[in-house]
């Protein structure tokens, strides 16, 4: 009985914080209506945003007031996970409302677009030429906030002492400062800085303000939505591509690493494993692409180089911007991009994929094992990797966790690609598109369309969701909810 | 002199023995009963069992009448407290602290313990400077580590033998301080000519130490 009372109190705290996040989501839903200032003719669509905003805000406020604990409660990571799961599922569902109400998409398609936004994927079933500006801005906003993290943004702006459990659960676990609120504010601050710089840069390069805002949001959140069907390819401008590349790389960098760079700690920056992975993988892949793939496709060497670099960076950073189409790319090119998509971006950033740190760790483990063969049998070796400015000594437990994650990731990848292929798509296309979903990239080879079979879309939705929240949060939180519900009922 | 030593281990044992053989009176404070017993059996010193950083123990061991207190425990923090107590409370004229972490040499000085030295630093410099020069004994870093005193045996191949000292261009701030020839000490003058087999004592600064040694031994490494 005591256990139930305590459990009840914990869940009250959980529900109240989830309510706060719903309120935040609702307020965000009103933001796209700012476009009415520039395009007043679109006011007819405003109910498509106002209604869901009011409903979810209302539910959120009620949950917040009703369940609010008397003193702020510190959350464990598991409880943080439950809040993340509850908030993301509900917010994604409510965000689908405008797509259904305004664009007339069916439930599957609307949820797809919504999830693609929040998870910063960027795959789309929407015809952007026909969409009102509010919808376009909404998509970009979902990517912006989804990239930082709903919970993280809420923490930075509102609540008091609830501990580091929530940011850890949502994937922003690195400590930039000796207090969670300061860390989170720094993250949001850096992120906002990126956005502002991005908007200014795109404006200077010739985009309209509306396009600059949308694409800046999509770039730094490594999301990839665009206001044009040809994506960045619409402008065919080396300058815009260059700006995008810089923003994409910034967005995919671990926030702690970025913070180090901003503070001028270059030595620590170069020692960082993820920086090294990017610095080796990108040039190698770009070279392969230029020499073996793009030269055969594009008329000029210049265009080949641009395309190779852009697409490679877009894939690795899991952004999903594209400057070209893949219809005539040979298999090697598709293969390289698929591999880059699976590797993914940095940890504690807006990017997806397996994450560069894990790849780095497994690779270094291999090297350490080889090195061990040449050392005295009884030598005691402590291997380490740099994390920020400190040495993180790698235990076999850490390696095991990474290996387990990799296994989970690839298992889902196999299943997801299999389901897509079962619908008749070519193997190459299935592998590419599901990698794009699971790693929340957004590059499409043509499988994802409004007309795609629903099961394909739902498979991709699952891939995006699990990919963004890194499985364990989802599984562990679900398990906890089920177990706790059973305990309370008994 | 009336010397009070706090610490344990072989170093302390031999330190005590050395002082005793020179005729000083030694009192030893040690925290381990078994070690106290062992020491008491072998040394003609007064062995006190207790925590040397405890003012009461220090008083019982005669800190008020001691001329010198040496804190040579393995823990820098204990050595700090012992010396500070000795200085401030008991007004012992000379206190010396052993410092294990070389960085703490400077720290101790800033906290008021002027005589703090690090065996690590001495040993490290011995090893570094000994490597590659077998004929050289580095005696001590003197004057707070700002001056090195080194003893070198001149070989046949040394480039500076056969020339008068005044013709040898040693770098600034280095000096041949003394020459030992056939067991006899010679005070070097400008006209002194160095011979193979001479053992010379040179003072150098850390910056020119390597250069001077190379000039004297002829090693280009």
């Amino acid at each position: 009985m005591r256990f139930n009372i305590n459990l009840g109190q914990r869940y009250q705290a959980i529900l109240s914080y989830a309510g706060l996040i719903y309120l935040l989501g609702g307020l965000l839903m009103i933001a796209p209506l700012l476009t009415l200032m520039a395009w007043p003719g679109e006011w007819v669509h405003s109910t498509g945003f106002l209604l869901p905003a009011i409903v979810i805000s209302g539910i959120g406020i009620m949950m917040w007031r009703f369940f609010r604990p008397h003193t702020p409660v510190a959350l464990t990571v598991q409880e943080g996970g439950v809040i993340v799961l509850l908030s993301w599922v509900v917010v994604c569902l409510f965000s689908a409302w405008p797509f259904m109400a305004i664009l007339g998409l069916n439930f599957t398609q609307a949820v797809f677009e919504s999830v693609s936004g929040w998870t910063t994927t960027g795959l789309s079933v929407v015809d952007v030429t026909m969409a009102p500006h509010a919808i376009l801005l909404w998509r970009s906003i979902t990517q912006l906030v989804g990239g930082a993290g709903l919970a993280v943004v809420m923490l930075a702006t509102i609540v008091g002492p609830i501990g580091p459990g929530l940011p850890i659960a949502e994937g922003k676990s690195d400590q930039l400062a000796p207090h969670v609120r300061k860390s989170v504010k720094l993250i949001v601050g850096i992120y906002t800085g990126y956005a502002v710089v991005g908007i200014m840069a795109y404006r200077l390069a010739g985009m309209t303000l509306f396009d600059a805002i949308n694409h800046s949001f999509a770039a730094i959140s490594t999301g990839g939505f665009s206001t044009y069907p040809e994506n960045i390819g619409h402008w065919d401008s080396a300058v815009i591509e260059a700006i995008s590349i810089v923003l994409m790389i910034l967005g995919n960098m671990n926030f702690l690493t970025a913070y180090l760079l901003l503070r001028g700690k270059f030595k620590s920056f170069y020692r960082n494993g993820e920086v090294r992975v990017m610095a080796t993988l990108l040039p190698v892949c770009v070279l392969i692409l230029i020499l073996l793939v793009c030269r055969g496709i594009y008329p000029t060497l210049g265009k080949s180089i641009r395309a190779a670099i852009f697409e490679a960076v877009s894939a690795l950073t899991t952004t999903g911007f594209t400057s070209t189409v893949y219809g005539n790319w040979i298999s090697l090119g598709i293969f390289v991009l698929t591999v880059l998509m699976l590797v993914g971006g940095g940890t504690c950033s807006t990017a997806g994929g397996i994450k560069q740190y894990r790849i780095y760790l497994l690779f270094k483990s291999l090297l350490w094992e080889l090195k061990r063969l040449f050392l005295p049998r009884t030598a005691v070796i402590e291997n380490y990797a740099w994390q920020g400015e400190l040495k993180n000594f790698i235990s076999s437990e850490q390696v095991r966790q990474v290996a387990t994650f990799l296994f989970l990731y690839l298992s889902l990848y196999v299943v997801g690609s299999g389901i897509i292929a079962a619908h008749g798509y070519k193997l190459e296309e299935s592998l590419f598109e599901f990698a794009s979903s699971q790693s929340t990239v957004g590059l499409s080879i043509g499988v994802t369309l409004a007309s795609s079979p629903p099961l394909v879309l739902w498979t991709e939705i699952l891939g995006m969701f699990l990919g963004r929240l890194e499985f364990l949060v989802v599984f562990v939180s679900l398990g906890k909810i089920v177990r706790d519900s059973l305990a309370m009922v008994r | 002199m009336d010397i009070l030593i706090v610490g344990g281990g072989k170093t302390v044992y031999f330190l005590c023995r050395t002082f005793l053989s020179k005729g000083h009176k030694v009192t030893l404070i040690n925290r381990d009963l078994d070690e106290c017993t062992w020491l008491a059996r072998r040394l003609k010193a007064i062995v006190v069992y207790g925590d040397g950083s405890d003012p009461q123990i220090l008083e019982e061991a005669g800190a008020y009448t001691a001329n010198a207190v040496l804190a040579v425990t393995p823990n820098d923090q204990d050595n700090l407290v012992i010396c500070q107590l000795a200085n401030l409370r008991f007004r012992v004229p000379r206190t010396l602290a052993l410092v294990n972490d070389p960085d703490n040499e400077e720290v101790f000085k800033q906290l008021g313990i002027t005589a703090a030295f690090s065996t690590t630093r001495v040993l490290a410099s011995l090893i570094e400077q000994r490597a590659g020069f077998e004929d050289i004994t580095n005696l001590i870093p003197a004057a707070e580590g700002k001056v090195n005193i080194t003893e070198i045996e001149l070989k046949e191949t040394s480039p500076i033998i056969g020339k008068p000292l005044r013709d040898i261009a040693l770098p600034e701030n280095s000096l041949v301080a003394s020459i030992l020839r056939n067991g006899q000490p010679i005070v070097p003058r400008g006209a002194t000519v160095l011979q193979a087999g001479d053992r010379i004592i040179v003072t150098t600064l850390p910056e020119n130490h390597g250069q001077v040694l190379r000039m004297i031994t002829g090693d280009t490494e």
Partner: protein
Amino acid sequence: MSPGQRLYIIIVGCGRLGSYLANRLSRDGHSVVVIDIDESAFDALSAEYSGFRVEGDATEFAVLEQAKTDEADLVIATTREDNINLMVAQIAKKLFHVPRVMARVFEPKREEIYRDFGIEAVCPTSISGDIFLRWIEGSSAMDGKGS
């Protein structure tokens, strides 16, 4: 320092007292760094602790530098050894110029000497002793014994 200000606090020693202070101070919104020589001591930190953890020997100058002691507003030394607390406190006060330095000192005889160094020392032994004595004297039901 007014209450309600967010401070940068370094706590040396993550035992019962150290971890208690760290948890509370971090929960109250301060930036906290905990230093302990033994990594397993950090297990005593709760879910609400969101500060840094530094594994190392605080009597080593380099470790205090790593913890950015020069930027600290407050250093609290709570290890189990008086001498370590006092050494760390002195280094913090005199070399890093930390505005406020506090230390726990178990041995009452040392308490006085170190107040002279400008270190706020708390002696649990004396405090506990005084409380017990007050209880004892109070229970002998004599008035005039007070304060």
